[in-house]
Amino acid sequence: MSVAQDTAAPPASRALGYFKRVARWHPLEYAFWLGLVAVYFVPDVNIILLGQILIWGLFAMSLDLLLGYRGIPSMGHAAFFGIGAYTAGFLGKYGWTEPLSGMLISMLVAGVIGLATGRLVQRVAGIALLMVTLSLNLIVYDVAHRVTWLTGGDDGLQGVVIQPVLGLFRFDIFGKTAYWYTLAVCFLLFLVARALVKSPWGLALLGARENPRRMIMLGAPVERSVTVAFAIAAAMAGAAGALLTQTTSFVSPPTLSFQRSADVLVILIIGGTARLYGAFIGAFVFLFMRDWLSAVSPVYWYFWIGLLLVVVVAFFRRGILPTIETALTRLRARQ
């Protein structure tokens, strides 16, 4: 649609045209999701690792809503992942074994706690925000670690039972059902996130990230958007946690460790923020590298992860996906 046409149309339909245009699916997007379906049929593919990558990708995508689109860093995002994981675990252990409703309840619990957290921190910024989210993460970890009669402590939650999905597909030891279930949940939540960020609400979120003072002048609820973004991001992180529990029938305190909060930040930064896909690409790169490095250099592989982080922050601060995008645009301009 050309600019001349745009300005000729009445404002309402012009805005509608804008949102329609940004929501249009790019061919590469179809390729991405079809590729995830197709990869299942590749012989000898490590389907369990791929499932893990999707779970990390969903987790990083939830952080992207908060950090990428609203510009709010959280050093404690694993708290919500772990809350979702433990909720799904408790449900499975104490009789609520149906996975889909278990997933929804886990998302709800994580989302409500996220809403409360967002309300708490909506005015805080900078170091203080990092410290508050970090402290909350450590508190949740400490509780899960110490309340052994409830959580099993370091041994984790034993005896989690999950029924077959839709009563038809049993979770098998090869991770086949787990992969399809994970892919379906990730795709659905991706659609939700995509619809959100391409909506007027998503645009307001970007506005509040770029210039909060001006957004206040326009009458947009800048602080409330932090709370809402926190709640949505927490619910999606909870879904990723629930996926991990349901596909492995096990939860333990590392699901909400500070290490995981740091890892998910690293994944998102490597992949690129405010892209949604950056989260999945970052998860792919990070987990493959971790898998490979821990095999090549079992003792020192963290050195290479650290070096990767330093190099990415120093030279590709925007992440892999935006760097590729810029390169492609430049290439196209030259032709």
């Binding site: 805080v124 508190i139 500070f258 003792v299 650290g306 330093v310």
Partner: protein
Amino acid sequence: MASAATVLFNGIAYGVLLFIMSVGLSVTMGMMNFVNLAQASLSMLGGYVVIAFTQSYGVPFLLSLPIAFVLVGLFTIVIERLVFRYFYGTDDLTQVLLTIGLVFMSIAVATYFWGPGYRGVDVPAWLTGQTDVFGLTLERYRIFLVIVGGLLSIVLIFGLERTRFGAMVRACVDNSRVANGCGLNTDLIFAITFAVGGGLAGLGGALSANLLGIDPNFPLRYLVYVLIIVSVGGMGTIGGTLIAGLALGIADVGGKYYFPEIGSFVIYAITALVMLWSPRGLLGRHQ
């Protein structure tokens, strides 16, 4: 059975250690707004320096402490010139990620050179064992720590409040652009402050080798405590850092002794509350 006074004293000794590890970060963060999570890695390096000098070269423990201070300080200058100075203007998150990457690297490097296990250090006989002070039986090493910490606090506060260089540092903390505009060589002041802060972190690690032991995961274990002390005390304030360090030390030791089931929960909760109530810390300067 330890009395309440002994627990309190042990907490103070631990708090002094945490203060020495954190104070450099507090000043540099106040000055450059640079979030350096690798501060705890510098402490680990200080600890290893003392272990290496006392055990391999037979240097006396007391002499190895200033060596650790100087070597880690010099090392900090190298890192500052090579890496940190390119990241002064960037946002908090970039700095956090950069320095977490450096922490990961430091852990692997420490494992490579010194092995994965705990290493302790031998202190002179007159620092071991216990002694009676005012009817309390106290460990001599902890008494030594409290004395060192007290002297260091006096030197630091005097240096910052009463010397010409201290005035320059305070000017940079308050507003480095204006300080630069007034003709101060802010780059040089940054570098020296960074070096002294790093050296102090190294000294803190050197002093903790006997009490806490040094292993490659030392930075990850103490990184959070250092951050809590700096942010709760208020960046750029030595008094606030001292108060927060002592409070954390007493709360940690006392909490573990009297309420082991509650654990670190209270410390984190207080941190969150302080940050929500006063984002610039207890004694932080409000802008």
